[in-house]
């Protein structure tokens, strides 16, 4: 069964793209969770709806259309928090609601929901294109390189922001880059699990990892392992039982979270 599963080209492409996106989201998610910005993924995913609706309306690529829309929204969140001193969660809520309502409005103007839009809402990992897979690979390499090169700076900025500023670290730039890369990851992730479930890829693997890891490097590595294994397990289950892949991926993630919690309790960590 597994040999048959792996022999399909679309499955191979889905597994590669899904693994890369899951790994990218897991790495970013660790920093977002620790900075208490994890719901930014949820907000950005709602904004994706505007990008997808615009793309369907103008018959262009949803991924390429959504990237600038989500990037602009992430900048909007940052401006709201910095310039208007609005709390981060409130700013995310405002932009998220704006994104969702504009998306629905465009969808309505275009004549209502159709199959294409539903596939973006609930994910269709097995329809990932080669270009999108390459984009996922690029994103993962950029994130990994960034973390390796600026590990101490990024860690310090997440651990204690005011102190990091007194070390001369440009915390504002670190935050901006983190949010903008997250925006791109969110766009690339909506094909894997769908707009409604993207934030789970950013939150669950890091949280599960934080429950069992003893060092920060372990947290990063384990989050990636949990994220990638969830994609593989989820796609396999989806293939065998012919059920939605996005939901299966997230349920696998939840299984890892349950396992981590149990381990945490047993070990008394």
């Amino acid at each position: 069964m597994i040999t048959e599963f792996l022999s399909y080209g679309f499955v191979q492409k889905g597994l590669i793209a899904g693994s890369l996106v899951a790994a990218a989201c897991a790495l970013l998610g660790v920093f977002l969770v620790l900075k208490r910005l994890s719901l930014i993924g949820d907000g950005m995913s709602h904004v994706c709806l505007t990008g997808v609706a615009l793309a369907l309306f103008t018959a262009t690529s949803p991924v390429y259309m959504s990237i600038p829309v989500v990037l602009l929204s992430s900048l909007g969140i940052m401006k709201l928090t910095q310039k208007f001193r609005i709390y981060g969660d409130a700013a995310i809520g405002i932009v998220s609601a704006a994104g969702l309502s504009v998306g629905l409005l465009i969808t309505s103007l275009a004549g209502g929901f159709n199959t294409d839009l539903l596939s973006y809402l609930f994910g269709s990992i097995l329809t990932v294109t080669t270009d999108e897979t390459v984009l996922c690979g690029l994103l993962f390499i950029i994130i990994l390189t960034g973390i390796c090169l600026f590990y101490r700076e990024v860690t310090s900025a997440c651990f204690d922001e005011p102190f990091a500023k007194t070390r001369g670290i440009k915390v504002g730039t670190v935050n901006a880059v983190l949010v903008m890369i997250t925006s791109v990851a969110v766009v690339l992730a909506f094909k894997v699990v769908g707009i409604f479930l993207i934030s789970a890829l950013l939150i669950i693997p890091p949280v599960a990892s934080l429950l069992v890891a003893r060092t920060f490097k372990q947290v990063l590595c384990l989050a990636v392992v949990f994220g990638v294994l969830s994609v593989w397990g989820g796609i396999y289950i989806s293939f065998v039982w012919d059920i939605p892949s996005g939901a299966c991926v997230i349920l696998m993630n939840l299984l890892f979270l349950l396992g981590s919690y149990t381990y945490n309790k047993i070990m008394g960590k």
């Binding site: 204690d160 005011p162 500023k165 007194t166 003893r214 920060f216 372990q218």
Partner: protein, 265 residues
């Protein structure tokens, strides 16, 4: 002698509520300044504005360089009043936390020399024994000592400490103030310390700064203790501080230098 910190007409307000108004002062190398004042008087905000953590109006120079252009952050050690890290689940060892204090100096690579500095700072603050433990697993007092080691690790010329002894037990507090006293006297480290513990720390402090939205007083300890004009101007809080300075442990912290005590005796 040029000041290590020079503040001119510093103002700060949260939305429309002024917190600091027209504050000007100059801190000289080797000063040990105790910053006192009532709660909500703007002491912590002043330190934050001086470090660029809050954007105020006016001019601030650190080591002769205007704050926006200042780059030599390794010359400054900072310990905040309330660290955002104490409640965090961040799985990071105490040693790694101390290592963060060296970031401004040498970029990302960790050298043997840096590890030696971390070891020394942890030795100074008696935190060496739990260097490998997860920071979040330590008690609040232990965390505070690790954060002090982080402030000291870059061998700063200026230490800025915001109520650093609050979470420390009596013996740790004594060790802590002795350490600061030695750093100031033997190594010439300039210290700015927000404290309400004027009795214990009073014997080390050379100058007092009283902040209550404005700079009400800045001068030497004898001037602060013995100026009747200051006492009248500052009211109950200052009188309490002066009394505390004189009565703590039953002796005057100024010792033989205190003219008032000499007259009394």
């Amino acid at each position: 002698m040029s000041g290590i910190i020079k503040a001119q007409n510093v103002n700060f307000a949260y939305t429309r509520t002024p917190v600091l108004e027209n504050i000007s002062f100059e801190i000289q190398p080797g000063d040990y300044v105790g910053i006192i004042g009532p709660n909500g008087g703007g002491k912590t905000t002043l330190l934050k504005v001086m470090l660029g953590l809050e954007k105020g109006k006016g001019s601030i120079e650190l080591f002769g360089t205007p704050l926006p252009q200042f780059q030599e952050w390794h010359k400054i050690g900072y310990l905040a009043q309330k660290s955002p890290v104490s409640q965090s689940r961040f799985p990071i060892s105490a040693q790694e936390v101390v290592l963060m204090g060296l970031l401004g100096r040498r970029g990302s690579r960790i050298s043997v020399g840096e590890l030696k500095q971390v070891y020394e700072a942890m030795q100074q603050t008696n935190t060496r024994e739990y260097a490998d433990r997860i920071f979040n697993d330590l008690s609040i007092g232990q965390q505070q000592r690790v954060l002090l080691a982080r402030a000291l690790v870059s061998h700063p010329q200026l230490l800025i400490l915001d109520e650093p002894s609050t979470a420390l037990d009596a013996s740790s507090r004594e060790l802590f103030f002795n350490l600061l006293g030695n750093l100031n006297k033997k190594q010439g480290v300039t210290i700015l310390l927000i404290t309400h513990d004027t009795g214990e720390v009073g014997k080390y402090i050379s100058k007092f700064m009283y902040i209550d939205k404005t700079l009400v007083f800045f001068g030497t300890k004898p001037e602060f203790c013995h100026s009747k004009a200051v006492a009248e101007k500052l009211g109950a809080f200052a009188q309490h501080t002066i009394d505390h300075l004189h009565n703590h442990h039953g002796h005057c912290p100024l010792g033989a230098d205190c003219e008032e005590c000499a007259h009394d005796h």
